[in-house]
Symmetry: C2
Subunit: 134 residues, 2 copies
Amino acid sequence: MGERMHQIGHVAATVGLSLRTVRYYEEVGLVPPSGRTEGGFRLYTDEDIERLELVKQLKPLEFTLEELRELMDSRDRLLDDATPARERELLRERMEGYVALAKERCKRLREQLSAVESVTRRLERETQAATPAS
Amino acid sequence: MGERMHQIGHVAATVGLSLRTVRYYEEVGLVPPSGRTEGGFRLYTDEDIERLELVKQLKPLEFTLEELRELMDSRDRLLDDATPARERELLRERMEGYVALAKERCKRLREQLSAVESVTRRLERETQAATPAS
DNA sequence: GGGACTCTAACGCCGCGTAAGCGTAT
DNA sequence: AATACGCTTACGCGGCGTTAGAGTCC
């Protein structure tokens, strides 16, 4: 199987995260590498990279890494066909909770955005108005 | 002069910050109280409160408190009629720099917002799609 | 064997939250 | 004199940035 593995530098550059961050995400169990070389180098699959990308996209929602771990794990299990139906229910509820949370954060972000845009305009006006008769 | 002073609890409640945060903003020189009682209680003027509110509005732009301090100080001096013209030029440039930065942050926030909205929709679809023939 | 890449371990930083123990206001 | 409010000091935490020194890949 053509499952090429990538080392951390390539991964970090591709996803747009620092080496430190990628290592830290392993440390907290968020995105562990699928393997290691004999010498100890981390090895990531393409799926690992996708996971990192998803995490990166979810970060602006201000979830803690702990929450993101739960979210990602639930999602994995939910998308896995081998997961039994009784477990699926639980997972779905969890995911729905996170989705609801995400929507709220989106709403707050929209509000913050317009607030911040208006205060920026205010600063700009004040700055320009502060030019005397020059 | 009817300059009433307020103590920290009132101020924090009005602006919507924690006591700790208001104290911390003094600690870093961002919003020092205009006075103290004999016994050591912090006393804030209405202007101090406005300053705190402005700081709070600017926070989502991800400035460091250090930057905010510079920004606020420049603004104060710029809005002060007593500031000499030679200094005003410098201040204006600084403020323009910060305004430019603020605009970039706004742009980034807009991008992040749409990205986050789309990834939220994705999560929602995946969650719903994961309901089998029930 | 040389250069690029990676490893672990450790400390540092920001922006506060959270006691603990004690003083002040009214 | 009671009660609410405030004070300082200090430690803790999340999410990394940043050396430092040694090992690995090819």
